[in-house]
């Protein structure tokens, strides 16, 4: 077998596939994590807009984001095949080649993340991590303080609150690009990416032998989430009480 490496994963035309031909690519933790993150970020945004009274819920959304992102990062090391950073983060050169191949439609399809999407995954995770972490120490200048506010000075808290805001503005742009890219795959290449992020399955004809995964390792994922959540709970519970008011 002497196939050029590009050819072996370049089945270009996607036919409508019988569902039976789809194979599992995204494990359940990745899928649940993805949509739960979306829900938590939306929840955090909405509760922020709703004002002071919703602050407690906003904080809980932040906890969910933090645990999910941290778990996803751990999962990127110990998770299933396509969830691992090592399997999807590629060199800038091959990312550029991938981008360039869109020009003439010879783009290879990927069972997991494509090279450009891989960078977006990393960017989104880092942004969410930064936003959630800075939120722990933030204050709203009016009445509410983040759960770990008591650990930092007021000036540092102000700075971190600024980053909490600024990073969210960057996140809005990144999420916009992420959604545009998914729609671009759908409209320009007839490649459906949303379905697989729900069902976990991609058509067998896109996949090379060995691309499909056998198990979601759900118990391992649950254990990771549980440990991270307990760690965060302990951190928050032992934080010194703090308030913007001296009364």
């Amino acid at each position: 077998m002497n196939l050029p490496s590009g050819a072996e994963r370049a089945p270009d035309r996607l036919q409508a596939d019988p569902p039976g031909d789809a194979k599992l690519v995204w494990d359940l933790p990745v899928r649940i994590g993805h949509w739960a993150l979306l829900a938590a970020v939306l929840g955090a945004y909405i509760t922020h807009r709703l004002g002071l009274a919703w602050y407690a819920v906003h904080v809980w959304c932040g906890y969910v984001v933090l645990v999910l992102v941290a778990a996803r990062i751990v999962w990127g090391v110990v998770g299933t095949r396509h969830a691992r950073f090592a399997s999807f983060v590629r060199s800038p050169a091959s990312t550029w080649r991938y981008l360039w191949s869109w020009r003439d439609g010879t783009t290879a399809r990927y069972a997991g993340h494509n090279p450009l999407g891989a960078y977006m995954v990393v960017v989104l995770l880092l942004l969410l991590l930064g936003i959630a972490l800075s939120g722990l120490f933030a204050n709203d200048q009016i009445a509410n303080t983040g759960p770990l506010y008591g650990y930092v000075s007021g000036a540092l808290s102000d700075q971190l609150s600024g980053w909490h805001q600024r990073l969210f503005q960057v996140l809005e742009i990144a999420v916009g690009l992420h959604v545009l890219a998914v729609l671009g795959h759908r409209w320009l290449r007839h490649e459906e990416l949303i379905g697989p992020m729900i069902s976990g399955k991609k058509p067998a004809q896109w996949l090379r032998p060995g691309d499909a995964i056998n198990s979601s390792r759900i118990w391992l994922a649950l254990l990771i989430v549980l440990l991270l959540a307990l760690g965060l709970a302990r951190l928050v519970a032992t934080a010194p009480p703090a308030s913007l008011s001296i009364f």
Binding site: G51, I142, A143, F247
Partner: protein, 182 residues
């Protein structure tokens, strides 16, 4: 006997007196080498500040920052009561709300143009978009007064207490978004 004891007392007094004299004259002697102690600080100077000490502009910044600190310390308990974090107490709520309403009117005082170049988180837009700034300030007064009035009208926790508190907090947010940098 008495004479002798008096003499002894005198003998004791002499070194004491000498010591006392030494102690009282020493600072004066030291004063010859060290700079003389400054005269007691004058009462806070009005607008044109003395050459040392904070400038008039700096004093204005400190004044308005103080107003903000007092403001948030009086407002935060209201938020706590409105969101159920602390128990509602009519007297405390009324007191805090009255103070917030009083302070609200003081907010724009310190944002005078001479403070433009002072180091603070105030954005320059305060002076380039004064109407916008004053609009927020006016909203704050209106809503803070509405909150105080609401509590006066109803000693128990009024139904729209949370709503009224949120309205005040909203103006803080709006103004900070536009005119305060992080």
């Amino acid at each position: 006997m008495i004479k002798r004891s008096l003499r002894a007392l005198g003998a004791l007094c002499l070194p004491l007196a000498a010591a006392w004299a030494l102690v009282t004259t020493l600072p004066a002697a030291a004063g010859n080498t060290a700079p003389t102690a400054p005269p007691p600080a004058a009462a806070p100077a009005p607008a044109p500040a003395p050459e040392s000490g904070p400038s008039a502009a700096r004093q204005m910044v400190e004044y308005r920052q103080a107003v903000m600190i007092i403001m948030r310390s009086n407002f935060a308990p209201l938020v706590g009561m409105a969101t159920g974090k602390i128990a509602f107490d009519p007297a405390t709520a009324q007191l805090r709300a009255d103070r917030v309403a009083m302070l609200a009117a003081m907010v724009p005082d310190g944002f005078v143009e001479i403070t433009k170049d002072e180091k603070s988180r105030a954005r320059l837009q305060i002076w380039t978009n004064r109407a916008g700034f004053d609009g927020h300030a006016k909203d704050l007064v209106t809503r803070a007064e509405a909150l105080a009035k609401l509590l006066k009208a109803d000693a128990t926790q009024p139904d729209n207490f949370l709503h009224a508190v949120q309205a005040v907090g909203g103006t803080c947010d709006d103004c900070h978004d536009d005119f305060r940098s992080r």
